[in-house]
């Protein structure tokens, strides 16, 4: 649980850093952005594997007791910070490996908390958990699309009629982040996670207080 929270925190932090790096003089730095995305991917993997491990002992527990991992991103004390890296030092298994078919049985309980947006993508792993559907890449190294060095116009397209195209190194970044982490960062059950990257569905409207939304809107304003 701590690990999950820590992973969430790091992911949120990474998003912030990516956003801020757009504001700094000299523009986006490719190397820095690559490193941030690596950390984000590791955090995501860690989050998923920790979540899977957390689910294992809960097989016998009634569904109501299983904690919603999608809590509001806790900005808690750094005490958790030190715990997580040591937890994370165990090699985190690939999420693919840990998603075994039998696990699918317990996920409906979780899905009940959230509208499980049916994934249009058939995936080999059975991680049908609604909140995580957006986190598991449909194909290898999807996260790398964050590293494109073109305008971030996609972000603008998704949210509102695009203003003038600003140069950015990571055009799809905000879009990817929205898709991937909206389920994570948004605690409200009303917001469905977006479709997996393979399909180009527009993200649904989400509540205004989503941190990522704030970020993305700020990006748009910028």
């Amino acid at each position: 649980m701590e690990v999950q929270k820590e992973a969430q925190r790091i992911m949120t932090l990474s998003v912030w850093k990516m956003y801020h790096s757009r504001m700094q003089r000299g523009g986006l730095r490719l190397h820095r952005s690559l490193q941030l995305s690596l950390v984000m991917r590791s955090a995501r993997d860690l989050y998923l594997s920790a979540k899977v491990e957390a689910q294992e002992p809960e097989v016998t527990l009634p569904p109501a007791r299983s904690p919603d991992p999608c809590l509001h991103p806790p900005r808690e004390a750094e005490a958790a910070a030190e715990a997580a890296p040591s937890d994370g030092e165990q090699p985190s298994p690939e999420p693919m490996d840990t998603q075994e078919a039998p696990r699918a049985g317990e996920t409906p309980a979780r899905c009940a908390q959230r509208p499980a947006k049916v994934s249009r993508k058939r995936r080999s792993c059975s991680l049908s958990d609604g909140g995580d559907a957006a986190l598991v890449p449909s194909k290898k190294a999807r996260l790398e699309e964050e590293e494109e060095e073109r305008a971030s116009s996609d972000v603008l397209d998704r949210l509102q009629p695009p203003p003038a195209q600003a140069e950015g190194a990571f055009p799809n970044l905000a879009r990817v982040l929205q898709r991937r982490f909206s389920g994570l960062l948004n605690c409200s059950p009303a917001a469905p996670p977006t479709a997996p990257p393979a399909c180009e569905a527009k993200p649904a409207c989400r509540p205004a207080d989503n941190m990522l939304n704030v970020l993305v809107r700020a990006v748009v304003a910028f």
Binding site: G26, L30, V39, S42, E82, G88, P91, E144, E148, A166
Partner: protein
Amino acid sequence: MVLQPSERHYGDWNHGRLGPWCSPTGSPAPLSCETGCGEGSWILVCRLLFPTQVSLLSMEEDIDTRKINNSFLRDHSYATEADIISTVEFNHTGELLATGDKGGRVVIFQREQESKNQVHRRGEYNVYSTFQSHEPEFDYLKSLEIEEKINKIRWLPQQNAAYFLLSTNDKTVKLWKVSERDKRPEGYNLKDEEGRLRDPATITTLRVPVLRPMDLMVEATPRRVFANAHTYHINSISVNSDYETYMSADDLRINLWNFEITNQSFNIVDIKPANMEELTEVITAAEFHPHHCNTFVYSSSKGTIRLCDMRASALCDRHTKFFEEPEDPSNRSFFSEIISSISDVKFSHSGRYIMTRDYLTVKVWDLNMENRPIETYQVHDYLRSKLCSLYENDCIFDKFECVWNGSDSVIMTGSYNNFFRMFDRNTKRDVTLEASRENSKPRAILKPRKVCVGGKRRKDEISVDSLDFSKKILHTAWHPSENIIAVAATNNLYIFQDKVN
């Protein structure tokens, strides 16, 4: 210009005060002054505070700058971000030391000449020239500001009376000529002494202009500007041993230039994937071999080094040698990938070895052995458990540099809290020193520092939690033949020399 009190208390060099430092085993080891490898005691030669002192000095005010300097040392520093030193480099003889800062300025220091009556003043560096190398620019196409920060300075070997250096920011490399002028022509016919044109009607005689001595003036002129060749940010430049070409490396490409040609460059390495979504690594540093003009290396963000031979093909995408150490699974952690990114690569003077710096270690590689380094030195391993906090405050992205001494026997690199570390490759001893204002009494002997990693903290030790991560030493330089080092600590430049010198 004097940075130190004129009264020198040489009697204070009391050998009894030189305390032994701990050998790696923890037991005190006797001081060895015969090593000559720089591991003896280090003394502060001078400390320069950017920009205030530098401006004063470059105005060549000889007056009581000592008083002014001292008062500035007491006051809070006037440092702005523009004064942060971003690169330090000795020239090939060590006579000149160039620094670049975030404000795009280059300041060159010259070593004071040895004189009989003041033999101990040799080793001091005075300001020789200051000029604005790069200005902030705006890329209108991308709506991006281009920083004027000087990323690297590289000297050319001296071939005539003038000095040449390359300085680069994120996008543009410039070749500067620094020359002295100590004579000026006087007695022009058509111009008067102030340069105003004379009325031809008043000229009744002709005279031949003569050269008269004048106060030494050092002028810097940009001789070449190599622009518009890099899409990404330039991280390295390296002068080839043929002295006719040099290379500039950005995140994805390396270009080869001829000094005479500014409108063309050859692309010799291109690791940009066809689909940027597949990008997994970037180039972080590159350097030419010191003797073989066809060989160069470049390091990557994945902790690998590639050696390329330009004779093999025009585009050196396929490496000749590939240096990578298998990852130690016990060290694997959440941030493993980013701390393995190499921030600096340097050939040894002999050309036999390369040294790489990643976030926590310095490694020495033998060019003949690709599968692992021959030596690994822990710079600040106590940070391994703090990586998460360092990620939060962005320190984990700091790019430290590393340098060899002239004989390739000692390597040096920086750390936090204004600490810098030296490793003797022969004796396997290391020392941690601090470049700080508190210890900046001139000619003060640097006391070795020690970081306490846990358990009981001894009297002189510093605990990891009290380290100041805003004080980082990223840039250092070692004189090519003597034990003189230059250490840049934010906006301060420290010059130390070996006491036995």
